[in-house]
Amino acid sequence: MATSIRGRGGIGPALPLLTPAYLWLVVAIFLPLSAMALFSFMTELPMSGRDWSLTLEHYAAFFSSGLYVTLLWASIRLGLEVTLWCAIIGFPAAYVLARVLKGRAREAIFLLVILPFWSNGLVRIFSWAMVLREGGLLDTTLNAILPFRIDIDLMYSYPAVIIGLVHSYVPYMVLTCYLTLQAIDNALIEAARSLGASRLQTLRRVVLPLAMPGLLAGSVLIFVPVVGSFMEPRILGGRTGTFYGTVIEDQFVAVFNWPLGAALSFILLAVVLVILSLSAPILRRVQ
């Protein structure tokens, strides 16, 4: 008896299953991240024999210059907006996939949703550039249909950045919502209707609360990377596309100020963690 109890509760038997994943996490994420953490406190990169010493100046730079705070705020706003649009677009799609379509139709639509995952990110963004620029696909098509002339040049604008990011991240929302929606017992929806609830009331009072875990998981999966995104803002946003993520990227690839880039990254990480932990109690109550 004693051995079986220990066997069930102990971590021993689980070790062979856990080790590969944790070994990988340590090597691939923890080590580079630690190195970055160290860099963020250095005056210079310890390369080609340059002298360096420990400092807090890069962290101080964030607070002394209003620029970084403004950019971080802009990035958080961008994250919230993209997440909201993903929810508005993704949830209805997930609902139809999970509860309306069946068989082949469901498979086909599912494939269309996942397709962005299979295409290269840069290709995706440059395709949008072709569509959004002046004289591009959208401009030409609309002017061919409409009797009057309008100029559509969304390229290098805030909406272009939103469009590109929503396109990249909406599958996450569809997938997480799909999982929770298809787990809802149909009898619950029928029960609500039999009690006199309209379709809208059923959606608001039964389906949405039960799908909330999926909506939240999707939101976290989208919000966190969007706040740090740099590719879409840089290519589709042009001069308007300066965000916190693009500034970090600059430090690494253009200015070669790795310590500042690393410090800005860790501040972002801290801010995101604070936002998530502050919203956790509220989100739990919503559930």
Partner: protein
């Protein structure tokens, strides 16, 4: 409260006819049991009365109002689902309050009604619990309270007791019946459990292949089944087949079985005779007494002990006849023993082909 009338309702799924010109009148305030094997159309019929599905043809009326095109939420019905379907994101009280609050009733009125409904099902003290904290029987009661709190015109029960264990099921049968009487609501109850249908229903309808085979009070169907299917599906029955003689049938071996129940088929046509296993008495071959009874010789091929009663399988010219005997202390018969089976003509039901 209202009577429910289903008039020549048909519904097909592809080439399968789930309901075939089904007509039933469910009496006001009655407890009606729909009984049938799976695929007989009983659940389809219930879902159509609820409004989850719509008939291809025919009419459905609740309290005289045609509802066959009315959506579920406007039909004012209450339904209890097989797995209860309680909302997991709400407390017990919120579950019960749901139907009232979507109708826009005031908070005060809702509170009073919810309390009354929970007291009726004896769960007044558990309002704050979540559904996952309740036992199966308690969930069942909450589902019932939720269905009746809106004062529906008809209560629909879809195999509501099938998920409970035996002892609890018997308790709930009594409880359900008490509540139904107390609020006097027209109730339609779908089950495949014949015992449940017999104990609870005022009337039973037996369904097969989308058609109504027979309906009436439980005793009437049990004592006078009109078809071999009704006889064997509702309770146990021995079916003897032969040729109609007017007031009975002649078996292939020449024995005449006299039956006073059922409708008399034309003389000379093939007919059968149904006898309930508990109506047959079994005795040793040599001490059989004479009387106005049907008798049949046979040999015990098997005996199954079932606690308070035993079942004998008696072979008569290749047919097996089942006999239930109360275990009241008498000596039991051995397998292989010759016996005489006796039953009165009152216990035999004639069934035409």
């Amino acid at each position: 409260m209202a009577e429910v009338v289903v008039d020549k309702v048909s519904r097909s799924f592809g080439s399968h006819k789930a309901l075939d010109e089904m007509s039933i009148a469910f009496p006001d305030k009655g407890f009606y049991g729909l009984l049938g094997p799976s695929g007989s159309g009983k659940t389809t019929l219930l879902r159509m009365i609820a409004g989850f599905d719509f008939p291809d043809a025919g009419r459905i009326a609740i309290g005289g109002e045609g509802v066959e095109r009315v959506p579920v939420e406007k039909r004012r019905i209450g339904m209890v689902f097989q797995n209860y379907a309680l909302f997991p994101n709400m407390s017990v009280a919120e579950n019960v309050a749901f139907g009232l609050s979507v109708r826009g009733e005031t908070r005060g009125a809702i509170e009073v009604e919810v309390k009354r409904a929970l007291d009726l099902v004896q769960l007044g003290h558990l309002g704050e619990r979540r559904p996952h904290q309740l036992s199966g029987g308690q969930r069942q009661r909450v589902a019932l309270a939720r269905a009746i709190v809106t004062k529906p015109r008809v209560l629909l029960l879809d195999e509501p007791l099938s998920a409970l264990d035996k002892a609890l099921r018997v308790d709930m049968q009594i409880e359900l019946k008490r509540i139904q009487r107390e609020i006097g609501i027209t109730t339609i109850f779908v089950t495949h459990d014949q015992e449940e249908a017999l104990t609870m229903s005022d009337r039973i309808g037996i369904l097969r292949d989308g058609r109504l085979v027979q309906e009436g009070p439980p005793e009437e169907i049990y004592d006078r089944p009109e078809s071999e299917f009704a006889a064997t599906f509702l309770g146990d029955a021995n079916i003897l087949r032969g040729v109609a003689t007017g007031n009975g049938i002649r078996l292939p071996d020449g024995t005449v079985v006299v039956a006073n129940q059922g409708t008399k088929p034309a003389v000379g046509t093939s007919a059968s005779c149904a006898v309930r296993p508990e109506r047959i008495s079994i005795g040793e071959a040599d001490n059989a007494t004479l009387g106005e009874e049907n008798r049949l010789k046979g040999r015990v091929s098997k005996r199954i002990f079932g606690g308070n009663s035993s079942t004998y399988f008696v072979e008569h010219r290749g047919d097996i006849i089942k006999v239930h005997v109360q275990n009241n202390g008498g000596t039991s018969l051995a397998e292989g023993q010759d016996v005489i089976l006796r039953w009165s003509p009152e216990s035999a039901v004639l069934i035409g082909m």
